[in-house]
């Protein structure tokens, strides 16, 4: 059974390590915050200028001066801090963030990612995504394996305008966990009961399939 969006977030959450500072992009990545393993010390950064984000506020407790990069109202946890955008992106550029999770329109063999523009159709802007992917050592993509038309979002070569090159390390989709290697995509894990042939069929480009591919285990 393929993963749903919350399952993808749960699987990504398994990548968290104690003491990680994490930046979560808009969409599926945001859900990762709901599945932090207990006993791990994790802090979430938002690039508009906050470290130590907590859950959304209860109704009536929202504050117009407290938002995340998705413009959602937030709260902060003990140990939080506020700062300007230059400092915020300094944290990102200076590799102080341990894990960045982003959504994507396309990811390719070389680790390039496209997630900010569809020429003549959709121009939302790159926001902080270009800074994040160019800077962080540990970039993970959380996305559906295929687009609405069933086409693979994993590509031999991205067709859309790029957000960054040689940056993605790992992709978690509804079907699989796939690493970027110098020989292309490497299948690491498959969703429970999802057939490897189905993954191969829905993946454009070279997918390296080891002899044994473990099943994704969700808690």
């Amino acid at each position: 059974m393929p993963l749903d969006k919350n399952d993808i977030a749960k699987r990504i959450a398994q990548e968290l390590q104690d003491g990680f500072y994490v930046n979560l992009g808009i969409g599926i990545p945001t859900l990762v915050a709901n599945y932090i393993p207990e006993n791990l010390e994790i802090e979430f950064q938002s690039e508009n200028g906050v470290l130590g984000m907590g859950p959304f506020p209860f109704f009536g407790e929202e504050d117009a001066d407290l938002i995340n990069a998705g413009k959602q109202t937030i709260t902060t946890l003990p140990g939080a801090s506020f700062f300007d955008a230059a400092t915020s992106f300094g944290m990102i550029r200076g590799k102080h963030i341990d894990l960045t999770v982003l959504g994507a329109m396309e990811v390719d063999h070389s680790g390039a990612i496209a997630n900010w523009k569809i020429p003549d159709k959709l121009i939302k802007g790159m926001g902080g995504a270009m800074d994040l992917v160019a800077s962080a050592d540990n970039i993970m993509v959380a996305m559906m394996h295929t687009d609405q038309n069933g086409n693979s979002k994993l590509k031999t070569k991205c067709s859309l305008p790029l957000t960054g090159v040689q940056c993605v390390n790992r992709i978690v989709t509804n079907l699989a966990v796939i690493d970027i290697t110098k020989n292309g995509f490497l299948l690491k894990e498959r969703a429970p009961d999802v057939d490897i042939d189905q993954i191969i069929q829905k993946t454009e480009g070279n997918l390296i399939v080891p002899d044994y591919v473990k099943e994704i285990v969700l808690n």
Partner: protein, 232 residues
Amino acid sequence: MITKTIAGISNALEGIQSGMTIMLGGFGLCGIPENLIKAIADSSLRDFTCISANVGVDNFGLGLLFKEKKIKTMIGSYVGENAEFERQMLSDEIEVILTPMGTLAEKCRAAQMGIPAFYTPAGYGTEIAEGKEIRTFNSKNYILEEAYKADFALIKAWKGDYAGNLIFRGTAKNFNSIMSGAAKTTIVEVEELVPAGSLDPNEIHTPGIFVDRIFQGGYYEKKIENLTNRDH
């Protein structure tokens, strides 16, 4: 002490002319110079080049300037929340220059701090890098980016004193502190204006030297763009 106070919004816009380049602090609707934006929207001024991270929503924030067709060129980073802006962009009524948000922030900070140019990795290998110098430091590729040049910076702070010292609140600091002093003239509106000496010098986020004019805004709506609550 050097006094930066002005009587109010009526004197604030002095010197701003059509066609100028204007920086605006804020992120979406958070920490935007509401009163200054409204005053410009109501004025006969037009054809601005605006530098701002986002573009507001249809009827608030920078959106008011798009609605009144005040903006000729928009330099920003994320523009996904404003239908009127999108319409003007797709119909080529306005020129749009998109910049990685961290690069935008650093270009403001560079202007403020007298750094003419710096290298950043953001956008290497993408269309953002086209026509720009690429350079390798420690086996990594970077793009040369230059400081912004702007005529006016419009800033919103939480508290300010007569000397122009500013304190921001929460995530409303965002681009406000780094745009202060990044333009030839910096105009600041605050929710609360206090006498110099009222603020602890250790708690000041932006020293008054980066500010040219300061006044207390008449009214703050402080709209929320994306109200998100959790269940009890």
